[in-house]
Symmetry: C2
Subunit: 191 residues, 2 copies
DNA sequence: AGAAAATATTGATTAGAATCAAGATTTTGT
DNA sequence: ACAAAATCTTGATTCTAATCAATATTTTCT
């Protein structure tokens, strides 16, 4: 999941990484390959060794809406892995040549039972996720697109080299044309 | 938290209700009273015996943005109770005369330690929350305001009697004028 | 019950972003 | 390296929803 870098201190998440490093299947993906397709019953979770992904779906007009990006050293799944037996709400697609460590969710859940106190795993993971989602909600409701753009490039400076303006525009909720104009306005203003 | 009704089947949530019923402080609130104010270090969680609340904050223009409603038999907190020691991102305000069962978060956390396997409590709770937040994100990005309105009144039909159009408008992300016009258009169309 | 406040509706106008369109630039894949 | 495709920028136009404004209706409070 994107935006969780800071939470790698987190004990549960570290255990999850260790598990994936020991038991995970190494999977290489090319640009545009899908890790998850919306509507599938996808039950895997992955750790990104190298690469980047976008998490997206379509809006009521059929236009792609990107809800999140994920980069190296982050987890990726269709946001909430479908514990509820429901279909993936989002598609997850590689933006670059990427390398993943993948494990079926059931393996992770059985690990938890073995470890007894292992519930912490999922708890920490989901808690990070919830916090991220709350911040995203607030951001989308309360910040101007320009502010979302500024914060994004502060948080992930590298994103400008690795993700297209088209995709960044979708993420912050404007058209590519509007983002382009926004950026040239910002350039003028900072002179 | 609003929108979690369906998750009352959930074992962890049931335990949490039981705990609040046994040990919770009964608190009566009048219309417009705040349960949480944005920016506070608020560390309580409550179960609503009767009444309703809105969870909101201000956008970059100072306009109130409602992110959630909570009604009878639901939990309410400043969304994520601040385990991270961070300030509340949202205010929680009573819309009606309301009765709560309130417990400090630390009591709940210590309960968990006593119960050993009790981590499930928070895990279930936070998991419900994360799922709710994901759906909200997708809804805001992908559905038209009219669709959000329709789904809201299907999910909580009672809301039309208990919440002002102004607040419903904020929740679905339009001005009160736009909602009013939307509603009269919908009335015409269904004839 | 009645005055005052808040809310809801409706119309007119404005503002801002989407769309449409065309050209320039960059990237991709063989 | 090259052709083709995709992306980015810029301008002109359109369209939708916000704002402004005035009135009607409902709710609140004593």
């Amino acid at each position: 999941m994107a935006d969780l870098n800071l939470l790698h201190n987190n004990k549960g998440l570290l255990k999850l990484i260790t598990f994936l490093k020991n038991k995970g299947e190494r999977r290489t993906m090319r640009r545009r390959d899908f890790f998850v397709r919306e509507g599938e019953y996808h039950a895997e979770i992955a750790y990104i060794l190298r690469g980047s992904f976008k998490l997206f779906t379509s809006d009521y007009r059929g236009k792609e809406q990107i809800l999140s990006f994920s980069f190296d050293h982050e987890f990726v799944a269709c946001y909430l892995p479908p514990r509820y037996g429901c279909k993936a709400l989002l598609s997850v697609q590689a933006l670059e040549e990427s390398v993943l460590l993948v494990a079926p969710l059931k393996d992770i859940l059985s690990q938890i039972q073995i470890e007894q106190n292992g519930t912490i795993y999922v708890s920490d993971f989901v808690e990070s996720l919830a916090f991220d989602l709350l911040r995203k909600n607030v951001s989308f409701r309360c910040e101007a697109p320009e502010e979302r753009y500024r914060k994004l490039i502060v948080r992930i400076p590298d994103i400008l080299n690795r993700v297209s303006m088209k995709d960044i525009a979708s993420y912050i909720g404007v058209t590519p044309e509007t983002l382009s104009r926004m950026r040239s306005r910002m350039l003028l203003e900072e002179k």
